[in-house]
């Protein structure tokens, strides 16, 4: 009896597995991008944290990309091609991001991918896309190593992945930009540097500290925190004890806001300064009154001041999305638009049709290198590393519960 039931179960499981895999292969084989009908559907993949702590930023990215896709379809930007967005949630986890990348590669209709938000997630996806020759444009990855290789600091820059592009500037300029402002304009000479040991946070803190020391400032202490923690009281007391003029935090707002708040609660009435991942309305919501005076840098000029962005902001409002476009909305729109432009270039070169799916991906990646247009965040274009040619930066200070731009400019090395 025992053997028989085991046999039945095994048979059932095997049959089930076969059925499922059959479904899978059927789904893969119908990727008809050559298109028998009038329009071809091109899927643009998107990967961002749509849930979890960073979902405010992720939803902004998704909605902005969605807006770009809708705009392209409405204007018939590429005749004969209908764009479709497929958004996947990476929960800000590198492993999930990698799975999503594999999934997007597996769908032969996907011709480009927007995202992700986090540099460490981006790192985990690069190889997957590179192998499949599928182009990826991140609106938010700022770690320099992603485009310039791990030895970028020594000047030996090397582009690892030809499929990787980004519309945001890097921490190589973001950290030093904040350092110059704090030292030259705010006249603060002593800093306590804290980071979360992640690709983005640690890299940013290092570029900041390097420039700050070069200018003549002192790093009076350093520490690292675990971003999943809630209790930073011991670190906060160390900061208060060190009599620093301000804190630089390399990391994201879910830990950054409580950290800044607990530092002020520990009696150190000093601002916390950080990168673009602190530039979120959520930061102020979480740190409440303790957010006052804190400073965040962000890549690009403030959207509200750019003419190109006014239409985007108006359209975003008209579309009625539930969440705000947040820090990366403009870049996300531009990243998506860059993919649409690359598709357009390939289709135009190929007599109004998309080439076979394998060739299409490769040609779109190649076309991306030459894409230029006036985007939401300014002029969009890519250099030999896949980095944006737009090196605008801004600093925002929290005043009366709002991020207010206090400095806009280009980083001068």
């Amino acid at each position: 009896m025992r053997h028989r039931s085991l046999f039945i179960i095994t048979t059932a499981v095997t049959a089930g597995a076969l059925t499922l895999s059959a479904c899978g292969s059927r789904g893969d084989s119908d990727g008809g991008s050559s298109g028998g009908g009038d329009t071809t559907t091109v899927v643009i993949g998107l990967d961002a944290p749509l849930s979890g702590d960073l979902s405010a930023l992720g939803q902004g990215i998704k909605n902005s990309a969605d807006l770009a896709v809708k705009t392209a379809n409405k204007n018939k930007e590429v005749p004969g091609v209908t764009f479709k967005l497929e958004a996947l949630d990476d929960v800000a986890q590198a492993a999930t991001g990698q799975q999503n990348a594999t999934k997007l590669v597996g769908d032969s209709k996907v011709m480009g991918v927007v995202g992700p938000l986090n540099s460490d997630v981006g790192q985990s996806m690069q190889k997957v896309f590179d192998t499949a020759k599928l182009v990826q444009v991140s609106p938010a990855n700022t770690n320099p190593a992603l485009t310039q290789g791990k030895d970028w600091q020594t000047g030996k820059k090397e582009r690892g992945f030809k499929t990787y592009f980004r519309t945001s500037t890097t921490d190589a300029v973001q950290g030093p930009f904040a350092a110059q402002y704090m030292y030259n304009k705010k006249k603060l000479k002593k800093v306590y540097v804290i980071d979360d040991k992640k690709t983005y946070g640690a890299g940013l803190a290092a570029t900041f500290a390097g420039e700050f020391k070069k200018l003549g400032g002192t790093v009076v202490g350093t520490d690292h925190i675990n971003p999943d923690d809630k209790d930073f009281s011991a670190v906060a007391s160390k900061v208060a004890e060190a009599k620093a003029d301000f804190v630089y935090y390399g990391g994201e707002y879910p830990a950054g806001a409580p950290l800044a708040s607990q530092i002020k609660n520990a009696g150190a009435k000093i601002p916390t300064v950080g990168g673009d991942a602190l530039f979120s309305a959520e930061y102020i919501k979480l740190a409440k009154k303790n957010a006052e005076g804190d400073i965040a840098s962000s890549v690009g000029a403030p959207l509200e001041t750019l003419d190109t962005a006014k239409k985007f902001i108006a359209d975003y409002e008209t579309a009625g999305y539930k969440d705000a476009y947040e820090a990366y909305g403009g870049y996300s729109y531009d990243s998506t638009w860059a993919i649409i432009q690359a598709v357009k270039a390939v289709v135009e070169k190929n007599d109004g049709k998309l080439p076979d799916s394998k060739d299409a991906r490769e040609q779109i990646t190649a076309a991306m290198q030459d894409v230029t247009f006036d985007g939401v965040s300014g002029s969009v274009g890519f250099d030999e590393f896949g980095d944006t040619t737009n090196k605008q930066l801004s600093l925002y200070e929290v005043k009366n519960g709002k991020h207010v731009a206090v400095e806009v400019g280009q980083f001068e090395g």
Binding site: H224, N226, D231, S233, V235, P258, G267, L286
Partner: protein
């Protein structure tokens, strides 16, 4: 080392929070030998209960008036979920091999987390929790936050109340009897089912108070906060000697102090600069746990008991 009193205060406050949650682990384990891994989520649900109460009250209600309502609501939510878990997830498995309820507990923990994630409005990210207005309270060598006052009062009051309850009341003594030998206790006319539910409820009520203290101390709550807090509280319970209610509190305090000390001072020891600071505090907390278990396997206050046949 000038900030030693401050760091001691940080560690003790964090430890008191761990201790309050650890009570729930220890009581349930003491009576049914079950490690209720969903207890961290019961703590988390208390926090969301308190937040809900605050949001329902008219805006502008003083936190001092709102606080009792929030505590009651937190307790109601936590106790209800804990009793439901006992009735529907654990009771059917009583008498099953010990691994079964343990796996159920882990499953329940994930289910509760996902339920809040999916159904509580805006819970996909951290939700701000009301905080007391005004600055820090200066106590000479160190300062504490206004929200911490609640924890400072609640932790000892809860402990004393629990101590009195267990040693002086009929139900408390019945609890002790059940924990020593459930079968004999049953023969003596003790309704062991009721005692087990009571243990779950008391643990949940303490977790709810801890959740309110957590919110007031850190200013925000999120759907994942039960996981790490639960793990630390479980560690505290084992450290203090699982099954011993005073041990849970002592274990919590020791753990909290160890974390604060590790963050503040380990990097000052020559040759250890790479192994100190906030990122390493969990490592040192668990090193401490391993050391205690090596030298005193029953935990700090635990008694060496022969394995039940």
């Amino acid at each position: 080392m000038n900030d030693l009193p401050q760091q001691l205060a940080n560690g003790l406050l964090l430890g008191a929070l761990y201790g309050l949650i650890a009570i729930g682990y220890t009581m349930v384990y003491g009576i049914v030998q079950l490690i209720n891994f969903a207890h961290g989520e019961i703590f988390m649900i208390g926090g969301f209960g308190a937040l809900t109460a605050f949001l329902i009250l008219p805006t502008g209600t003083s936190l001092l008036i709102a606080l009792p309502v929030m505590i009651l609501m937190a307790m109601a939510c936590s106790v209800l979920v804990a009793m439901g878990a006992e009735r529907f997830a654990y009771r059917p498995l009583r008498g099953a091999p010990r691994l079964a309820p343990l796996i159920t507990a882990i499953g329940l923990s994930i289910a509760l987390q996902q339920a809040i994630w999916a159904f509580y409005p805006d819970a996909k990210k951290a939700r701000p929790f009301p905080e007391f207005e005004g600055g820090r309270i200066d106590l000479g060598a160190f300062t504490i936050g206004r929200g911490d006052l609640f924890l400072l009062i609640a932790a000892p009051v809860c402990m004393i109340a629990l101590g009195v309850f267990v040693s002086k009341t009929r139900t408390g003594r019945a609890m002790q009897a059940t924990s020593q030998d459930p079968d004999t206790a049953k023969l003596m006319g003790i309704n062991t089912d009721r005692i087990i539910v009571t243990a779950f409820a008391i643990g949940a009520a303490f977790a709810a108070i801890a959740a309110v203290a957590h919110g007031l101390r850190y200013g925000n709550i999120d759907f994942r906060m039960g996981f790490i807090a639960g793990l630390k509280a479980f560690t505290a319970a084992v450290l203090g000697g699982i099954g011993n209610i005073y041990g849970a509190m002592i274990g919590g305090l020791v753990l909290g102090l160890a974390e604060a000390m590790a963050t503040a001072y380990i990097e000052n020891i020559p040759g250890m600069s790479q192994l100190g600071g906030g990122a390493w505090k969990d490592v040192w907390a668990f090193v401490l746990l391993i050391l205690v278990l090596l030298l005193r396997p029953q935990g700090l206050l635990g008694q060496r008991v022969a394995d039940r046949a």
